[in-house]
Symmetry: none
Subunit: 147 residues, 10 copies
Amino acid sequence: MIEQRNEIPHLILAAKVRKGLSWSTIADALGQSKEWATAACLGQMALDANQARAAVELFELPEDAAAWLQTVPHKAADNLASDPLVYRLYEVIHVYGGAMKELIHEEFGDGIMSAIDFDMDIQRQDDPKGDRVRIVMTGKFLPYKRY
Amino acid sequence: MIEQRNEIPHLILAAKVRKGLSWSTIADALGQSKEWATAACLGQMALDANQARAAVELFELPEDAAAWLQTVPHKAADNLASDPLVYRLYEVIHVYGGAMKELIHEEFGDGIMSAIDFDMDIQRQDDPKGDRVRIVMTGKFLPYKRY
Amino acid sequence: MIEQRNEIPHLILAAKVRKGLSWSTIADALGQSKEWATAACLGQMALDANQARAAVELFELPEDAAAWLQTVPHKAADNLASDPLVYRLYEVIHVYGGAMKELIHEEFGDGIMSAIDFDMDIQRQDDPKGDRVRIVMTGKFLPYKRY
Amino acid sequence: MIEQRNEIPHLILAAKVRKGLSWSTIADALGQSKEWATAACLGQMALDANQARAAVELFELPEDAAAWLQTVPHKAADNLASDPLVYRLYEVIHVYGGAMKELIHEEFGDGIMSAIDFDMDIQRQDDPKGDRVRIVMTGKFLPYKRY
Amino acid sequence: MIEQRNEIPHLILAAKVRKGLSWSTIADALGQSKEWATAACLGQMALDANQARAAVELFELPEDAAAWLQTVPHKAADNLASDPLVYRLYEVIHVYGGAMKELIHEEFGDGIMSAIDFDMDIQRQDDPKGDRVRIVMTGKFLPYKRY
Amino acid sequence: MIEQRNEIPHLILAAKVRKGLSWSTIADALGQSKEWATAACLGQMALDANQARAAVELFELPEDAAAWLQTVPHKAADNLASDPLVYRLYEVIHVYGGAMKELIHEEFGDGIMSAIDFDMDIQRQDDPKGDRVRIVMTGKFLPYKRY
Amino acid sequence: MIEQRNEIPHLILAAKVRKGLSWSTIADALGQSKEWATAACLGQMALDANQARAAVELFELPEDAAAWLQTVPHKAADNLASDPLVYRLYEVIHVYGGAMKELIHEEFGDGIMSAIDFDMDIQRQDDPKGDRVRIVMTGKFLPYKRY
Amino acid sequence: MIEQRNEIPHLILAAKVRKGLSWSTIADALGQSKEWATAACLGQMALDANQARAAVELFELPEDAAAWLQTVPHKAADNLASDPLVYRLYEVIHVYGGAMKELIHEEFGDGIMSAIDFDMDIQRQDDPKGDRVRIVMTGKFLPYKRY
Amino acid sequence: MIEQRNEIPHLILAAKVRKGLSWSTIADALGQSKEWATAACLGQMALDANQARAAVELFELPEDAAAWLQTVPHKAADNLASDPLVYRLYEVIHVYGGAMKELIHEEFGDGIMSAIDFDMDIQRQDDPKGDRVRIVMTGKFLPYKRY
Amino acid sequence: MIEQRNEIPHLILAAKVRKGLSWSTIADALGQSKEWATAACLGQMALDANQARAAVELFELPEDAAAWLQTVPHKAADNLASDPLVYRLYEVIHVYGGAMKELIHEEFGDGIMSAIDFDMDIQRQDDPKGDRVRIVMTGKFLPYKRY
């Protein structure tokens, strides 16, 4: 039984060596380009149901691998921060962090927005130009104590 | 004469302190939201010709600043992370980043929330238990291309 | 038998994949928002006794998981320093370390406060505006030897 | 003319050396504790208008320093950690941080000790075996919001 | 059964100690210089079929080691970035990244090339002076939103 | 008088802004592609004597710049990585680097794509769904020497 | 059987959760303050023989844990350099390294003290003000070769 | 006029070179060992009033240097580690640090060798096989406080 | 059976705790000083055949430990770069890298020495003042492509 | 007047460019090999009195440079590693460092190749398939002292 998604690329590479498969053959079995298919087999892309089924057969993976292969992986190796979705969130602070600091201080004075007395709501926002992710955060403002 | 683009934010901040300007006033002069305008004044966005002209007048910048302000800056300040206000924003992602990834993928599938086709709004939210900072972000969802 | 708290998120994710659960379903079972519930299942929040019981049933966890889920986790991934409680302690030194250095030197001259001949006492300090954590540290002052 | 806020701490320290001022004298002039006042003079806290005026006089700063001192600084000095006195403070957290986390959670549940609604008092504690530095910190306990 | 290629150097070193082999003896068995052969046994070079067969016999490796030894290893220790092939890709950006930024901004204005709505094609390009790797990338240009 | 080679890119960029030059115009003046010429102006390539002379005239550089521009620079800018445009390029390698390694080795065997005997072409690719950036790179394949 | 000292804190925490012990109860069993006792259970302090015996009973540890608990642990988490005893050795070089360099060069000229042709002797030096650790190092001086 | 304390070591070194002073001469002028005096001149120790006066005369420093030299410096230079002479000292701890920890704990129990109540003596040790650098360090042993 | 050399220090430490041995006793058994013997047992030095035999008996190690203990260990903890032999190679580049760059560019112009089309030969060079390691490297010069 | 030793390499490089000197000419003037002389001019070696005098004349340095050039420098430049030419040298050690360690230990036993009693020779090696850079390094083998 597979316990974590990142066990699967090792199983796939071992099957590829054992069976002498080429990436082109694998790409054909998945019905995608060799570039996308290789990235997917290395754990960087999510498969759809048919592709997951094909991969289980081709690489003789355990049955439960099919469900795991359809989940979205943590991409870009080994830490949360380099996953593309998570990185975009950090980048927002890289680019806007100075502005957020200025605007919160202008409105509230010296202090911080709490990350503890804090809530967040994530929704889909329909948009004819492409739906948007909408994230609303609220955190209590805490002024620096003077003493 | 300005020798590098990154001299300009210092000149702008010094003018802001000297003249006692608020970011809202500055945003009005540039005809953008206060979030975009503040980021731009801190060197994260390129101005158009009219905005550059307005900035030179408002902040009494050297004449050649107008051309520099229309160039695309090297973005992403790198030394903000240990400031307590900014750190709280990063900590939100440290603590909630995995959950945000799960929830966005569950709703949208594999892809990201754009940090480019992105906007943000920061407001005070009155609260009898202590006012809150309210941050609303929306970013276009971009699905991973399959090919 | 569970040996460390951080085994549990892997068990939960594996159950979620195996049983095809959505985060909304999980959030309903825990009686919290999907944002909080997802963060909790990923090991970032402590559950109460009822929620822990519900989680053990929903995810078919080992019995002893219920007690572990009620302990407060080490948050924010993988090192002690990024846990929010511990980070606040470091931040106190980031912000006040220079002042502590100046004040100790002004009182005692060149030297250090020992971290070895050292004791600490942590107490709750009642306060009508919200109870406070009170930490008292004493360490022997050691003057730099001259020779 | 002052071009960036972080020039001011150097001017203050130079004036302190030149005029032989103690931090207690400075704290009296600002009407705050010596801990807060020292941190503020080192660029970690924002002054109010009266304090800024008093600082300009006491340290014979340029006139425009008064406006700068009222802006919120970028906090958190980053190069202190290898100084022996400051390192001992970090080491206390390296060695005791896990214990502090356990004990605060046992008493208060999930949450943090605020580093913002926070105060500190540093005193000499006479001791026949060698005087001790005594540091008392109190910070409001903030429970993690559930929602 | 061997699950990952990096298990093999440990097996080889253990056999070398157990059987008291010298690197010169090993190099003779592989038909290469001692420098190349040692690097190969430590997992830095790919063997050909005859060499892989010889290594399996000499070190009494599991049968499937022969196929693994003919795959190209991840070189230079422990992370993807220091593998020579992958490093060259990063170096292209170290050297040309500034130019790519300038040229894309000159053509498109402020924004980015998407790494999500992105595809890539890798081909051999015949060349009498030595064949070339040809990589074609296309990514949608995303302009920074103004608001 | 120029004291270090890395002063020159700042002088060139300032002249480019002041005179409103495009990179294509500059490339024509140097008689190279816009990709090579931009990299050279940013301090990544050495010019020959004629090009150095042309650059001094075009950018109105001090006379001694001509000799400096013919020296080989210290290459590889190091602070670009957090700029959003440049980060996307790195992310492509984070996500696809493993796949690129597999595919190049499958086609060519053990070796690398040269980043020295290398060229690059960047173009706008019209697309009704939004124009794309198209980057074509070719680099000579270099097989690992066996000896 | 316990193979490394750092297995013990995991066993203690698991027993604490399983048996529902509080840190105060544990501290009473060890006869120390809750702060010291918690740090010791987390692997930061050495127990004496009676305390080790009490801990084995309270937490139902393997018999050989009693001897391990009386050894001095590697403190401060995970690397040798942050252990307090070892850090002091590094700090001596942080503080005195420049002086050591100056004095060795003044006496010997350009070169180094060998760390290979090197020996060390560590002794207790009796001292009525508190015994001292005495470390004598000698290393051959190696002059830089000129050629 | 001196603006920051860390300007003084540069002035001292320049005077030492210009006047051809040896560290022994300097140590005599300050009335301390050559080890302490050199560290102090490099900005690691605070001088007393007489020593500060002597240093100003010996090195022909600006008058206000005398007050600065009596302030406690920020210690611990941070960029020495890659110098070959200094690196060997660090390497001794890399290689022997674990052994030093074991041996000091075996002799003294849990605690550290102080780096504050510490002295050091560096001498040439004649040796027919090549002279040796002899470094003798003594530091007070400080036992961990139990409470 | 021992699979890697770094398993042995754990076995030795466990035997030392179990049997209550002191480092002096161990040093006597190995016939060396306690400093050298401790470092050797912690995996920093190679034993000779008699010492290896004595260690196997004293610590009741597996039989194959004797051969492993006579191999030269990777020293200085955990990464290749801090091993003293390997570090010297890096240091050569730290000290001479700038000179190598200047001299190769002076002879060949802009480009690099290939690390792929590369070979190396390592030999003993007899020398009455002490034998020398002789390393000869040749790599093809690759000029930067202009286009 | 020269204030710090590290100003001198910039002055030397500027003179070399201005006067069109080659490193061989410079080496002749200093009476050393081109490798040693280049390293010395880049601030890695101390000159003797005659060489310092020759350097002042050749490069038309300020008079006080002669005394500075005879002081032992802080060695080991730290920002070279991402330059493509220098990176290839590091990569050789990344890829071959383990093999070099094995082979030197097999030939010489436990110890290192000195980087101090060390010389290097860099030559062009003609080759019809493309000229090669040939680097010969010899360093004295230093066995680890046993005691």
